[in-house]
């Protein structure tokens, strides 16, 4: 990992020096090894503090949306799964491809610090990633954990090591061995009774504090003004005053990204209350695949979103309304 960081840094410096790009969207180091922050480096600031390690899980493509009107050129570091979002953003004209230089990085999975903490480790001062396992130093002592168990959820159902779009590739990646079939979680819920499903979501969504982290981190949620922030939309709300508002926000958010969501998993990663929000998006993805044929948003740019598409023989909505069973 350190080798990769050096390679990246060297290459980025060159890109800044030779004027290929004016800025770099990468990560800067934090107070601990795990709290790296996405940051924009400029020619002037240099690459001081640049870091690339096992905790660089965030999807940087979102950071380009606010730069669409900028006349600067940006280098951005994208992991294979992030490139889907990039394609989707290009499709929707939410980024200016001409001003973007994509450095694809090989990836072998990133670590979720919350999962490490959930294993009872606290007071963490350092983490050493040894591919199969990680060693954690903390003020309460050292410990060793199997890496697969603390990978980000999105890595546990990795989409593969192929970069869907890039201008150059640095480092080699491997598809993280999936320990989760992508739709297992959805299937588990589908197998429940309606009452159980209702109870599940009621309990999960009751935790929502409406912080909007899921929305703001989402590379598909790029509305300049979200309907939930627009006082004239009739659905605006700053807090979940009732159970209904909890559902309304999450159903509509998932619906608005349906067919556009690349399943990057950022929503669940950032939720401070650990609500498994990806299970909503994945339900839409699974239904879209089943109803209209397999579709992966961001597989390539300029695909047609299945929600703004149709065939004459699509299944009828009554099939859902009349479905037998639980």
């Amino acid at each position: 990992m350190q080798g990769l960081e050096l390679k990246l840094k060297e290459r980025l410096q060159k890109l800044l020096d030779d004027g290929t790009v004016d800025c770099v969207i990468g990560w800067t180091k934090g107070e601990f090894i795990y709290d790296v922050t996405p940051a924009i480096f400029t020619k002037e600031s240099g690459l001081d503090g640049f870091v690339y390690n096992s905790f660089c899980g965030a999807n940087l493509s979102k950071y380009l949306v606010s730069q669409i009107t900028s006349d600067k050129k940006f280098a951005v570091i994208l992991k294979p799964c992030d490139t889907y979002s990039m394609n989707q953003l290009i499709t929707e004209h939410r980024v200016n491809r001409e001003n973007i230089y994509i450095i694809g990085v090989g990836c072998s999975g990133h670590i979720d610090i919350d999962k490490v903490k959930a294993q009872g480790v606290s007071g963490i001062t350092n983490v050493i990633d040894n591919d199969n396992n990680i060693i954690i130093n903390s003020i309460y002592g050292d410990s060793k954990i199997e890496k697969a168990s603390v990978l980000l959820s999105k890595c546990q159902s990795c989409k593969g090591s192929e970069l869907k779009i890039s201008d150059e590739i640095i480092g080699e990646g491997i598809k993280t061995p999936t320990c989760d079939e992508r739709f297992d979680g959805v299937k588990k819920l589908e197998a429940m009774t309606a009452e159980e499903r209702f109870a599940f979501w009621k309990s999960e969504l009751s935790k929502c504090i409406r912080c909007n982290a899921c929305r703001n981190i989402c590379p598909a949620c790029t509305c300049r003004t979200c309907v939930f922030d627009n006082a004239r939309s009739n659905v605006a709300a700053k807090a979940n005053a009732t159970e209904f508002e909890e559902k309304m926000f999450h159903i509509i958010r998932a619906f608005h990204v349906a067919g556009r969501c690349t399943d990057c998993g950022e929503c669940s990663r950032v939720c401070p209350q650990s609500i498994p929000l990806h299970l909503l998006n994945r339900k839409f993805i699974k239904d879209i695949n089943e109803f209209y044929g397999d579709y992966q948003a961001g597989e390539e740019s300029n695909q047609r979103n299945p929600l703004v598409n149709f065939t004459e023989s699509d299944i009828e909505a009554t099939v859902i309304s009349d479905k037998e069973g639980k």
Binding site: T69, H93, R94, T225, V308
Partner: protein, 662 residues
Amino acid sequence: MLKIGVFVCWCGSNIAATVDVKQVVEAVKLQQGVVFATDYQYMCSEAGQLIMRNAIEEYKLDGVVICSCSPRMHEATFRKNAERAGLNPFMVEIANIREHCSWIHKDVEEGTIKAIALANAAIAKVKLNAPLISGESGVTKRALVIGGGIAGIQTALDIAEAGFQVDIVEKSPTIGGNMAKLDKTFPTLDCSACILTPKMVDAAANPNIELLTYSEVEKVSGFVGNFKATIRKKARYINTDLCTGCGDCMSKCPSKKGKNEFNCGLNNRPAIYIPFAQAIPNVAVIDPVQCIKITKDKCGLCQTVCSAKAIDYKQQDEIIEREYGAIVAATGYKPIKLDKFDEYGYSQSKDVITSLELERLMNAAGPTGGKLVKPSDGSHPHTITFIQCVGSRDISGRGKCYCSKICCMYTAKHAMLIRDKYPDVNVNVFYIDVRTPGKNYDEFYRRAVEEYNVNYIKGQVGKVYESDGHLVLQASDLLNNEQILVNSDMVVLATAIEADESAKKVASMLTASIDTNNFLTEAHAKLRPVESPTAGIFLSGVCQGPKDIPETVSQASACAAKVIGLLSKAKLVTNPCVAHSDELLCNGCSNCANVCPYGAIGYETKLINDHGIRENRRVAVVNPALCQGCGACTVACPSGAMDLFGFSNSQIMAEVEAICKK
């Protein structure tokens, strides 16, 4: 605060019998903003309308709600009335308390409660209405007729006669359609060619008509008065300006094994051909699949013999874009395929033919020069048997559920012609019913029976098989309650007709609706039979449903009258209930443009001032002239930037809220 007036109509007893209108008036008076409410026996009457106008003036109303019949009935009436009183017509909303309430409910209490809820929803909506101004759009003074059969020709001639330009687009190399193939026509037995070809010539000669033969419409966009069509002129490999129609090429062409379409494939034609002697335009066409020069780059004989130098093997398809004010569908019909009717032996025996094939066999310009012979061996037939309703009135899935309408009459015609020309030939007709509504039709049929001794047998044929060189028909004779075996030399099948295969494609291009049989739907079965529900699209001939020639011609002329009415207008009033985009909210993501069926949404990069932040943004821009107000874009838009005048998000949500109040 808006001042709303509510007018509750009794509609005589239609509404008042199940809805307590007085109670509705009292209830709506409690709504915020309602400053006036009243009821009247017939709001749509002049007296009722006067009440409305007076109230608008006296109470300075900003919005009006009429609780009455369906808006599809009188919305236009009340809007006009509001305009007369100086109120913007789009500040009127209708609560449908007749069709959706009084007529379907019996209990007065229930009906009244529902009427109040519907009134409240309309009040909630009208409060959010905005005055809208109808735009105007021009009318392109040119019509497009798709199909060059008798229907298309007649419509085009009538439109041209009124002084408007018309283009006929015909997919085959000549106009004339099915009628050109017919020998004689019922009920007067005049020669089809004799009455059709003058019309074809007229069409070709009329300066207002342009014939685009061997061409197909590929794409239509736009809207009433302003259509834009993309037409593909298929390569003929002939320079039509030079070709004199001499026919030298045809005789020299070595590739003579093409099926002669005009003669229903009963004989062959060369690769370069003129469809028939009276074809319009009378120029040759090369079948590129059959031509040796084009397929193998050998031969080239026709080019050498052509004194006019009209042959061009390198000719390419040509794409033409034209603008039209109105479009007429006249796509016609074809006989159904008989592959599901094996019992008649159509594919086994050459002597089993369809009625259209018989027309060609009897026609002087046909493959036999008008001599009726058995196709199998060219010998003279002694008995000919007709079978009716082959594939018509069939709901088993093999045929068509409808009556093809023309078969009874043409079979009588055929029977008579045969008996007239060859008195020695016996003619049998197996029929289910003989249907002859029409002027002089039944008389015509009776002549076949009474004067020409045609043997009509009520019953159907179970199977046809060959035996000892002739055909045997096993059939039922219902009147005698017998199963009979009939020997016959030829069998003629009155094959059902169906909409031409192009109808479906044309309908979807024109966004005109079609029924389950692929016939185009009329706007109203009785009152608007020649218009499609889609504005600016008209229907001529069999594309709307089976018709005989007289009926087709009268419908074609009726259709022309409608087109002329439209093209005569200087301006069309456009619907102001169109989509519009809020530039501050728009993300420029193109979702809306993806679902727009009219291509009405474009994108522009504009300088936007978003609360003091100025930046160039890609934003959606709706062309109000193209937008038809369906609202699909509003739902595709995740940010809510796209909204629809007249049916805005907030208006619909206000209605929802009002309805859900208990």
